[in-house]
């Protein structure tokens, strides 16, 4: 008999007023008992709507059935047959729009906590799993993957499973992409990411860090001189946008990329690391996405007294996940909605003193279908802040496309790729944010997996 409780088994969490002073994980994870209880809420529907909601088609009811029986190792095998990074996905996927959004239990009450169960299984395996990932038999074909973020890691994992000899080239000194430089420790512990990457290495994937492709090696060199038969580009969307307003070059204005990279990748929050960061008192984070929430919550943990999210539309249009907004509010982040920056004002030393803002109201819907924010004339006011983090979006880095003849991009700088992830260059595939512009971890992983299938087809039919 399934567990017919209308609500998910609650997730244990650190108290908001304690966690907003540390970088330990906010959500502490299910115990085996909690996981079994929650797994029993799954009705094991025949038509499996949840699986269609997952970009990498995790066999959800099957793994949950194993969890309900307490067979966690079997559950793990089922998940990893289609998903290379379950401990990551269980934490950062927007499940409410994907698997859980399609769950039949969600019609009356809350859906099954698929994300929490995936995380539980992955964490359980990291703690208790005994088998080392197997190195599949090599098929002798070499593939290069550019970028060790979600798209590249997922592509590399799928290719390695198929027996390809895969080398990942990563520009930073650590593999993981946005999982290590962007998403903070308290949402995704870096030790978890490292363990997922170690599994790929066990499968035979080679990772070369400190390699800025397009500068140190070109795609032509990879294919012509180094024997790679195909290349997958998963270089993400790392180029930060600024607003173009007065005062953005003042001392104390960061892009979200810089702010988060200093804290996460370069570990400015940790004792013993040399990375400097401004310990600000009052900070405005401009933007309303998940990245903005991450930056704001980091700032609070770094000791800021007042942390503002400045967003030009209202709560309803806020693009961040509901859970992130909820956590941010609990932690004391102040939401300045329907507010837009006009300029940033300096003190006598060229440091940020305040941000001049203007109040907005919502007008008619624009092309995106959302109501367009319109300035309310004369409503300007000064928000006293000593730091500003611009978190208004990113676009793909032009380094590769400008050094690779025949690689086409669209007007927004995104690489052109067909539905099988083939770019305009023979043998070169691309996926994730480099193609779509900034999106989610799981969409990038889905693209990497699709590309791996296409690369297999391409090389074996050559």
């Amino acid at each position: 008999m399934p567990n017919m409780a209308p609500k998910k088994v609650p997730m244990p969490e650190q108290d908001p007023n304690i966690r907003n002073k540390n970088f330990k994980e906010v959500a502490e994870g299910y115990t085996p008992e909690m996981a079994i209880e929650e797994a029993k809420r799954c009705l094991n529907c025949k038509h499996k709507p949840c699986v269609n909601g997952c970009p990498v088609n995790v066999r959800i009811p099957e793994f949950i059935a194993q969890v309900a029986e307490g067979n966690f190792a079997d559950a793990y095998k089922i998940i990893t047959s289609t998903n290379a990074l379950p401990a990551v996905c269980g934490r950062v996927c927007p499940q409410e729009h994907q698997c859980e959004g399609k769950c039949v239990r969600g019609i009356k009450g809350e859906p099954v906590a698929i994300g929490r169960l995936e995380r539980f299984v992955a964490d359980w395996y990291i703690e208790n799993g005994t088998e080392k990932a197997e190195k599949p038999k090599s098929n002798g074909h070499k593939v290069a993957v550019i970028g060790a973020g979600p798209a590249g890691l997922s592509c590399a994992g799928s290719l390695a499973q198929k027996g390809f000899d895969v080398t990942i080239f990563e520009a930073f000194h650590t593999a993981g992409g946005v999982l290590v430089y962007g998403i903070p420790e308290f949402r995704l512990p870096k030790s978890i990411v490292a363990k997922e990457i170690d599994k790929l290495k066990d499968m035979g994937v080679k990772i070369m860090t400190n390699m800025v492709m397009g500068k140190v090696l070109s795609i032509d060199e990879l294919m012509d001189d180094m024997g790679f038969e195909a290349v997958f580009i998963g270089s993400g969307a790392g180029l930060p946008s600024f607003m173009g307003i007065e005062g953005e070059a003042l001392v104390g204005v960061y892009s979200a990329n810089e702010y988060l990279t200093r804290i996460n990748l370069m570990k400015a929050y940790k004792e013993g690391y040399d990375t400097p960061i401004d310990r600000c008192k009052n900070i405005a984070v401009v933007g309303g996405g998940n990245v903005a929430m991450d930056a704001a919550r980091c700032a609070k943990r770094m000791g800021a007294e007042n942390v503002y999210i400045v967003y030009r539309r209202s709560m309803e249009e806020l693009p961040a996940r509901a859970e992130e907004v909820h956590h941010a509010k609990e932690e004391g982040i102040i939401f300045k909605l329907l507010t837009n920056p006009v300029r940033i004002l300096p003190d006598e030393n060229g440091r940020v003193r305040a941000m001049e803002c203007i109040e907005m109201k919502l007008g008619e819907p624009d092309a995106s279908g959302r109501r367009r924010p319109v300035e309310i004339a004369g409503s300007n006011f000064e928000l006293p802040v000593d730091s500003v983090v611009m978190s208004i979006g990113t676009s793909p880095n032009p380094l590769l496309r400008t050094t690779t003849p025949g690689l086409e991009a669209n007007k927004r700088g995104c690489l052109v790729a067909d539905d099988k992830m083939h770019t305009t260059r023979e043998g070169v595939f691309a996926g994730g944010d480099a193609v779509t512009g900034a999106a989610t971890v799981i969409l990038a992983m889905g693209a990497g997996k699709t590309a791996a299938d296409s690369i297999e087809e391409y090389i074996l039919n050559k």
Partner: protein
């Protein structure tokens, strides 16, 4: 890991190192830079490439120990390895098609000016070099410069070696003496580059400066290295590090570079021009 093949003390504060980095050595061009990190706890620090040898697979860096990371680096020896070394980053200096060039270096900036002088000289340009230092005991690269230029003029602030005075005085006198430069390259402390650009501006001599703002990744990803050039925001790591010296907002750059100065507990700008009035 990247092995230190050679270490040479050029003066009491300036060190030359050859690092084994074969992929970078194959591609490095004058004007480009690398980013290094000594160990897991260190910062990522950009340094301009002073020289490279594709056959030996080495990249030469010359740096002044001014902050925590460069001090840590100078405590390492031949045979030791550093954790990270990435490059070549930035856009190479465009050095083709010039007939007569004056390369102006200030202090340790001479190390960055040297590869440009060398490349220009090898391209067949007539190269004058003005190498400025505070004092005789910190003069570097004299023999190296002599091999790649028509005239080497050394200036010292205190007159203990070469001519007494600033590089700007020498540049002005060379221009006054009728030298017609079609390019001036100025590399050194920010005030020096600012004042060299002021000297050349009235004559309309194209002037390139190499900027060294604070950055993390060096690939356009953090935006920390943004500089205002001709009223527009540029990322020094990918759009530069070379820019039109007449267009750069030096005062803003100086403020941005002082961001973490208090933390470093040391005076990064050693340029005496800070206290001097331009003539």
């Amino acid at each position: 890991m990247f092995k230190i093949i050679k270490k040479k003390q050029l003066n009491s504060a300036v060190t030359l190192m050859e690092i084994e980095a074969p992929y970078i050595a194959k591609k490095a061009k004058a004007g480009q830079f690398i980013i290094f990190r000594v160990d897991e706890h260190g910062e990522r620090i950009p340094l301009t490439i002073a020289d490279s040898d594709a056959e030996r697979g080495t990249v030469t860096i010359i740096y002044q120990a001014v902050g925590r990371s460069t001090i840590m680096l100078s405590q390492m020896n031949e045979g030791d390895s550093i954790l990270d070394f990435v490059g070549p980053l930035g856009t190479a200096t465009h050095l083709d098609g010039y007939k007569k060039v004056c390369v102006v270096g200030g202090g340790v900036g001479n190390a960055i000016a040297y590869p440009s002088a060398k490349a220009l000289f090898n391209n067949g340009a007539e190269v004058d070099v003005i190498a400025g230092f505070r004092s005789k005991d910190i003069v570097i690269l004299e023999d190296e410069f002599k091999a790649v230029c028509s005239h080497l003029y050394i200036t010292t602030d205190d007159g203990t070696y070469g001519e007494k005075g600033f590089v700007t005085n020498k540049l002005q006198s060379l221009i006054d003496a009728g030298n017609q430069y079609d390019l001036v390259i100025a590399i050194g402390p920010i005030p020096m580059m600012k004042f060299v650009s002021k000297v050349t501006e009235p004559y309309g001599i194209k002037t390139l400066v190499s900027l060294n703002p604070i950055m993390i990744d060096g690939t356009g990803m953090c935006g920390g290295c943004r500089v205002t050039v001709g009223g527009e925001i540029k990322f020094a790591c990918v759009d530069g590090p070379d820019f039109d010296g007449h267009q750069v907002d030096y005062d803003e750059l100086m403020k941005r570079n002082s961001f973490y100065k208090e933390r470093e507990h040391c005076d990064v700008d050693t340029c005496r021009m800070l206290n001097a009035k331009p003539e």
